[in-house]
Each structure stands twice: as structure tokens, then as C-alpha cells.
Symmetry: C2
Amino acid sequence: MMRYKDRPENYKEMRLSPYKKEFQYSYVLGLFPVIELIDNLPEAIFRIVTSSKLSDSGRAVLAEKAKEAGIAISTDDRTIERLSPKENTFAVGVFRKFEGNIDPAKDHVVLVDPADKGNLGNIVRTSVAFNFSQIVMIGRSADFFDPHTVRASMGAVFHVSPLFFRSFDEYAAAAGSRTYYPFMLKGSPMESERPDISAPCSLIFGNESSGLDDSFLNVGKPLRITHGSGVDSLNLTVAAGIGMHWFSHAKNIF
Amino acid sequence: MMRYKDRPENYKEMRLSPYKKEFQYSYVLGLFPVIELIDNLPEAIFRIVTSSKLSDSGRAVLAEKAKEAGIAISTDDRTIERLSPKENTFAVGVFRKFEGNIDPAKDHVVLVDPADKGNLGNIVRTSVAFNFSQIVMIGRSADFFDPHTVRASMGAVFHVSPLFFRSFDEYAAAAGSRTYYPFMLKGSPMESERPDISAPCSLIFGNESSGLDDSFLNVGKPLRITHGSGVDSLNLTVAAGIGMHWFSHAKNIF
């Protein structure tokens, strides 16, 4: 079960301002992602605004879904323009922020201080592709609910349980007995390892610039993705994708 | 050997304007990437502009490298501001665009209509990490030389031979006998395949939105990266990274 932030008291008629991190709610932009949200987390969404340019067929689909879920739809071009000034957006969904419950029996993707919203959204998309549903963010993470993150995830943020911890120790205390795989340049070659299939596992990735600090050398089994010397490191989303692919296929999930 | 575009006639004193795709030259922004360019492709770079805020030690390193390569350095804050208005840039290198020569004996990364500069730069970075030096761009590619692409590549664009073709057929006519691996959702599972080690190979990736069209089902051995049904597809840079990692490690390059 997901835990949701409260709706604002005047949620039906309040003026919608451009997104800020301190809001209890956020926006999903575009007809397809709005429908994805209604289908996956209907309790989260509490208002839908459409553009007068939305096609009749798009409006019909949206109206039916919203009715089933008991969500109000209004048409308001000025609000759309205010929330999405640069894009050709025809529908905006307003949704309560949410947080999952940690499941010690599942595999986790753990991100320590991920800084870039595009990277974070992309990693969530990859996580869903490789059947990870628990996404742990530790420390000063980019905003999981920012409309840029939501967009980069292609709606995948609505398919996972986001989990937020202040420190790795706080996370480890809640995560249960498991095998940790920190990805770092000082680790041993991932390509020579088989993932532990006797316990749940955590794949841990560090910040874009600084990676994971040396304290992670003492956490579980540090791994590196072997590559040539032409570049210092792989891009974070690429490294996370390669790590998740290795893990899910070695575990024969598919 | 690389083939270079001509320098502008008045290259020593011409006013430098914000980058446009039709220029014969482009810009690399930042002290570290400028030094990377001098070290790797000294014939390409023909002018260096620095900010008055550049540190004395940075200026000393740059001056020595530029002197060896016979390149003029000037200090000009207004030009820096014009070329890089949003960033805190202390050095800009002006370089001639270049094109490599196709090598039929090497493995190639082939990108069909890649649309996003950030993705293109990132894929070039990953290509260098996995020892691909021939990057083929086919059709309406994002601009390989745009400063955004150069930045996303972390300077890796200066480590590869870029090759440009109007169509796949034109490329295939020049590429020599080889095994083609188009990555597409209708391919067979990559994870069950071993790359051909008896011939040079090409890994082929399509556009971010449309992928590769069905005509590629008749080209070589189409492959898909197996993933769950939670998302329609992987992000292009992630898919390219997983494909290159599979290939280079199965070939035991490292």
C-alpha cells in the first residue's frame, strides 16, 4: 500500500501554480501519462485540467476514466499554459505525492545522492523494465516528483514504490538481511560474478560526479563494470542499466 | 587520418558568434575539455579564448599546451559570455569539424536518425568506454558537433571517428563484409546469443521514438534486449549501453 500526502483543503478550485518542490502535490503533463496515472494510482490523482485543443477522442477516453475514478475534469487553457509554458500539452493531472513501504523480501535499487532529474527519471524507467519495484533514494536526491523527473521516467514513477532515507545506515537498518552490491570503480569485475540468488539484493549507485565514497568498500560485494581507459567512467543511467540487466538476467527473471 | 573542414580565412581575428549547425567549426567549453582536445586532435583546434577569471595555474597549463601546438590564446570576457551565457566557463576552444574514414576491419556503432544531442553525446561516451572508435550516423542525425553533444560526451567526441551517411544502403556499400546486429523489439533475445567473433560487426540502434523500421528485420541478426512489460522500451542510451557491454565482454575485449 502506498502512503499519500494530504490533498490541499481547497483542491477543487485552488489556483494551480508552477511546480515547487515544497508542494504536497505535483503535475503530470500529457494525455498518455495522465491516463497511465489514473490506471495505476487512481487514489493519487485529484484533479485533471485539459486544453481546449485536446481532441474529441482524447477527451472521451479521459472523461470515461476520470468518471470511473471520481475525478473532476475542467478545461482551462490559461492554467495549462502556466504549468507547461514551453510544451504543447493538452492535459495535466494533479496528484498527491506518495511513498511506498519498504519490503525486505524484495530486491532494491538504491540511489545515493542522485543529482539530475533526467537521470533519476530514466533510472526509474529502467528499473521497471527489469522488474525492480522498490526505488530507494538516500540523502540529497533530485526531486522524484518534479514534472521533469516524471516525464523522463515516461510514467514509470507510477509503477514503483519510492522510499526516502536520510542516510545509508538508516536504510540498512530497515532493509532486512540481504546482499549489497555497491557499484564503484574500486570494486571487482561484475562480469566475473553471479548475483546471490539465496537472498534479496540491493544494487547501489552513487552520485553522477562523485560516485560512492570509499566507505562502501566495506558494504557487501563492491562491483565495477569493466570498461576501457578512454573515459573515466560511464554515465550514471548507463551504468545503472548495465548493472540491472546483469542482475535480472543472471537471476533468470525473464 | 581525420579529414578536417577548412578554417575560416580570417580565423585569427573573426568575431565568434553563438554556434550554428551550418558553421564549419564549433566550440568546446571548459578548461578540461579544451586540454583534452589539444591532446587528442591538435590539428582541429585553431583558437582559444579564455576568461579573465581563469586561474593562474589553469592559464599556465593551457599556455604551454597551446604553444606546443602553435595555437593562439586570447583573453576576452565578452566573447566567453556570448558563447556560453548560462555557464561559468573559463575557456573556449574553437575547432574545425572533422570526419573519419570508414574502416571495414573494425566493429562499428551505427545510429539511425538519433534525435537528441544529449543522447548522442552519451552514446559516444559509452562507445569509447567499450572500445568502439567508429561511430556511424545515418539520416537526420542530431548534430555531432553541437556544443551540447560535445559536453554530453565528456570530450569523447574527440576520441572517435565520426562517419556520416545519408542512408543505410550507402553505409552498407562502404562497410565491407560484416555481421549486422539491429536492436529492435521484434528481434530475438540478445541474452541467448554470442556475438560473431569471425567477422567485424555493427551494432545498429534506431531513433528514440520510432526505433528501427521493419526493413531491418532483413538485415543481419536482429536482437532485442529482454525486459518486462512494465515499460514499452528502454531509453536509447541505456539500450545502447547494454548492447555494447554485451558485445565487448562476449568478445573478451577486456
